[in-house]
Amino acid sequence: MRAAWAIVRRELQGELRSREIIPTILVFGALVVVVMNFAFEPSREESERIAPGVIWIAIAFAGILGLSRSAALDEENAALDGLLAAPVERSSLYHGKLLANCAFLLVAEVVLVPLILVLYNLAAWRTLVALAPTIVLGTIGFAAAGTIFATIAANSKLREVLLPILLLPVVIPVFLAAVEATGIVIRNEGVRYLYSWLRILAVFDLVYIVASSLLFEFVVED
């Protein structure tokens, strides 16, 4: 676990110095929102209906950009090989990168989600607070699969181009559950339905984290 924290510190320090990933996620995420607005030109009622989708499309698309950048940085200057020389469990490496990727996404989302809610005239403190569990669980699921798939994609000749093709089909259940849960919060519907979607998200997070922890050593071998 200490090894994982060391990786997290390394990733966060790198990001503090280069400031590449979080601004990229933020700017691209905001752009997605603007493009969506031109695509749908939602009325007041429509805003409520499409905002959950816009939030998660922005997170997914911008997140893919951030994840592939994070994996590409590991390949550049053979940084990953240096890390692999350290006598730590490969799963710690995965956990560290996962936590760092979650952190990058969450920091960007803290700005992005309120921005979307303001732009769609849905902002309210109650909504923001109630959205937190959904955003966190959805982000973990997205990053859990994204971290391992980004490393796999970086190992192929297609590099980052392959990531969305590998990742999007796999995270569709996360996406679906997150959009549904977000919609329930925005429309202020029953907590019971919200819990059932959050439970699905939690199950996915657990499955992806456990499976990826076991499989990550194969991805980074040799």
Binding site: I152, N155, L158, I165, P169, P173, Y208, F218
Partner: protein
């Protein structure tokens, strides 16, 4: 070069049973009361769907076995199954809308089961695309095994999505609880289609597996020639 048993008996058996299944589905089985003739597509739609799911089970098993043993045989099984799975999943996605249009009045609906199969189809593509863009055989086998395993985790989701999400797709007709079940002749036709497709699946996987084996040998020979040339020059 390893000597292979002839695949001819398997291929003949597959051809024969598929022919029997065609007879069973179009002539032997009675016309369904409410849906009419179009229902006959069921015999191939449902069985292709089952093959598509089996294919991913094989990809999963082949991937796990490869990571455990590092024997490329298992990688070839996974690769061949993924390609066969892509064929059967494509059959599902084509026959589905043809059946849905007259019965439901729509070509497509984004319900859980249809969408899951669509996702499965994309997973097949993702797996095969990754394979196409990793050159070194051992590395390709390892990376695609990881993707095969992570992707196969989606297969139970496909199956259980019937129960998880509310869906417009009919509940399982066979073994789906009270009120489900097929008339005996329909069941016979269904079983014939199932066995026919299973044999066809076996033919695809065997042929593709042998092709992959030949590819590996050619790759190794090409490398040998290259190295030979380098040492000469």
């Amino acid at each position: 070069m390893r000597a292979h048993r002839s695949l001819a008996p398997l291929i003949w058996a597959a051809g024969l049973v598929v022919a029997v299944a065609l007879y069973g589905a179009f002539l032997y089985a009675p016309t369904e009361k409410t849906m009419g003739t179009i229902q006959r597509i069921f015999y191939f739609h449902a069985t292709a769907g089952m093959m598509g799911l089996f294919a991913f089970l094989f990809v999963f098993a082949g991937s796990v076995a490869f990571l455990a043993t590092r024997n490329l045989r298992w990688d070839r099984l996974a690769e061949a199954s993924a390609e066969a799975g892509l064929v059967f999943n494509s059959i599902v996605l084509v026959t589905g809308p043809i059946w849905a249009k007259p019965v439901w009045g729509i070509w497509w609906t984004w319900d859980a089961r249809l969408t899951s199969f669509f996702v499965l189809w994309f997973l097949c593509w993702a797996y095969l695309l990754l394979r196409a863009y990793v050159a070194r055989p051992a590395r390709r086998a390892t990376l695609s095994a990881v993707v095969g395993i992570l992707g196969a985790i989606d297969v139970p989701i496909v199956y259980f999505s019937i129960r998880w999400w509310r869906t417009q797709h009919p509940a399982p007709v066979i073994g789906g609880g009270d009120g489900s079940g097929l008339a005996a002749p329909m069941m016979h036709a269904f079983l014939a289609a199932f066995v026919g497709y299973a044999l066809l699946f076996a033919v695809f996987v065997s042929l593709r597996g042998r092709l992959a084996e030949a590819e590996t040998e050619v790759d190794a020979l090409a490398r040998e020639i290259r190295d030979e040339g380098r040492s000469l020059s």
